[in-house]
């Protein structure tokens, strides 16, 4: 076992899929990166989860992380909220509908809806994000860690990154600068990802490899991770390509592609496997 670890927290841009491990590609960026760094990957990312869920794991990791280890946070949108303790994946309004599909409308889902409608606001989301980043930067400074790498998955609220010299931040966003440009502008975006995105972490595997190389360079040479460059492949994820077996084999999650073929609306409780529940 590698004596250093690569800790990753985040959302669907970094999570493992829920199939058995034998079905999961070893060519996802986080697994490739673990190999390149010769580090054991400890990945607690979860599809649909909130920043609070990610930070819960960082707090749990804190006393275990050593200066030799690597920490990556794929920073999800700050407006997500960990409403349901047992279902951290359900952190947005549309996912409250999923909760209600499972449990029916109950006081908890009503409270979550009302929180979003009447209480949640951008200034609070930003305040909490500042606190989270401050805590992480303080931990890195206090424990002598390498600079944790914050990879923006989507455009964040206004954060002055210069306030956190003990953190590294990506330039650009995984969604805007890698995932979205994979789909040609003349393609119907929704049609390409319905009923769900068949790519690993919303990226074709070619771009996983490129991303792994860029993160590796950033972590080992302390250069900014720049997601805005032309290194990433663009316009490759089309409706036509999605139906091409060779493209599926090379670029997509085959188990997800198989699921899409026979996709039907989920039966109750089928949409949230046990692995997605917080213990």
């Amino acid at each position: 076992m590698a004596d250093k670890k690569l800790y990753i927290v985040g959302d669907s841009f970094s999570s493992e899929l829920w199939e058995s491990s034998s079905d999961i590609s070893n060519n996802t960026w986080h697994r490739l990166l673990g190999k390149k760094l010769e580090a054991e990957v400890v990945n607690k990312s979860l599809i649909g989860s909130s920043q609070d869920y990610a930070w819960t794991h960082l707090h749990l990791f804190q006393s275990h992380i050593t200066p030799d280890d690597y920490v990556i946070v794929c920073l999800t949108h700050p407006a997500r909220f960990w409403f349901f303790q047992e279902y951290p994946s359900l952190s947005k309004i549309d996912q409250i509908w999923t909760y209600e599909d499972i449990n029916g409308v109950d006081p908890l889902s009503i409270a979550a809806r009302n929180f979003i409608k009447y209480i949640q606001r951008k200034d609070l989301d930003t305040l909490w994000l500042k606190n989270r980043l401050g805590w992480l930067a303080n931990s890195a400074y206090s424990y002598g860690w390498r600079k944790p790498l914050i990879i923006h998955t989507m455009q964040p609220d206004d954060i002055d990154e210069s306030q956190y010299p003990d953190l590294s931040f990506s330039k650009g966003y995984m969604y805007d600068h890698i995932s979205l440009p994979e789909i040609p502008e003349n393609e119907d975006y929704e049609k390409c990802i319905e009923p769900f995105d068949s790519r690993y972490n919303h990226l074709c595997l070619s771009n996983h490899a490129i991303l792994a190389d860029k993160i590796y360079n950033s972590l080992t040479t302390n250069i900014t991770l720049d997601l805005t460059t032309n290194d990433f492949k663009k316009n490759i994820f089309t409706k036509e390509a999605i139906g091409n077996p060779e493209f599926q084999q090379a670029e997509l999650s085959l188990p997800m592609s198989e699921k899409i073929k026979g996709w039907v609306l989920p039966k109750k409780k089928s949409i949230i496997p046990a692995q997605f529940r917080f213990k």
Partner: protein
């Protein structure tokens, strides 16, 4: 001039927030403690200008918003005190940071709907895991701010017991031993909740910041000793106990220990509870 920043709740505030809300007080002619309460005394003793960013009834989120808003003004020569309020309080409505609990919102009939939403949040969503997580994030962020900006160690004075005690590991912060609530409660001569609420408080605490003035003076000396001699602020010793009773409140010789404005307000409330409604409406919602 060196400044003393105090960011807290009713243990350090003398005004509602926003400060203009003070104008809704039915007794604008009374001084609620601006010249004698402990933040002012301490600022004078330190030779510093007081910048009091406290708000009665506020949440920790509001406190930290004040810190962020003023971080660029705070210099290494300044003093920072955070009177740490209860972690479970929540800043529900931006313009009303002083109503941070559902039961407080419910006191105003005009806000019954808001109280229901807040009560749902407190009952079904707010939980210790999130409250502790947020508390530690806040303290980590403040500790980091102090480090990167070269501040003196900010002093965390516990207003009340916190739901987690593991945050003593933040190297750039100093924490009090004990809580202001303990001082406040121990001042009361009969240690029952019923006596405290029904005989002493009766709607409005007659004291400045929930403490008799003598204990303000003791607190000032302890905090001064921290800033000048790095002596831990121990709130568990030296303070006056069992001095507050129904009898002492009516004793002329004791009147200097409590706030004349709060006493007058309290007596008025006892006569006419409609003032509550007026005051609640005036909170701005």
């Amino acid at each position: 001039m060196t400044k003393l920043y105090v960011i807290g709740d009713s243990f350090s505030a003398i005004e509602m927030w926003p400060k203009s809300a003070k104008s809704v007080s039915p007794y604008p002619n009374y001084d609620f403690g601006t010249s004698v309460y402990w933040p002012k005394q301490l600022a004078d003793k330190l030779g510093a200008e007081l910048v009091n960013l406290s708000a009665i009834g506020c949440s920790q989120d509001f406190q930290w918003s004040q810190i962020y808003d003023h971080q660029d003004q705070i210099t290494p020569d300044d003093y920072v005190i955070v009177v740490l309020t209860e972690a479970r309080r929540f800043w529900y409505f931006h313009d009303c940071p002083g109503v941070s609990r559902a039961d407080l919102i419910a006191q105003s009939p005009s806000q019954a709907g808001d109280a229901e939403i807040a009560e749902q949040f407190e009952r079904y969503i707010q939980r210790d895991l999130l409250a502790v997580l947020n508390l530690e994030n806040r303290l980590g962020a403040l500790s980091y701010m102090a480090h990167t900006r070269g501040w003196r160690k900010p002093l965390i004075v516990y207003a009340m017991s916190q739901i987690s005690d593991i945050f003593r590991k933040f190297n750039n912060l100093e924490f009090s031993k004990g809580t202001l609530t303990d001082i406040s409660v121990n001042e009361v001569s009969i240690a029952t909740e019923e006596y405290y609420n029904n005989s002493i408080i009766r709607g409005i605490d007659p004291r400045y910041n929930h403490l008799t003035l003598s204990n303000h003076n003791i607190l000032v000396n302890k905090i001064f000793d921290y800033f000048t001699k790095q002596i831990t602020v121990d709130l568990t010793t030296d303070f006056l106990n069992t001095v507050l009773s129904e009898e002492s409140l009516s004793d002329p010789d004791f009147q200097h220990e409590v706030s004349p404005g709060a006493m007058f307000w309290r007596q008025s409330l006892l006569k006419d509870w409609r003032i509550w409604k007026k005051f609640g409406v005036a909170l701005g919602r």
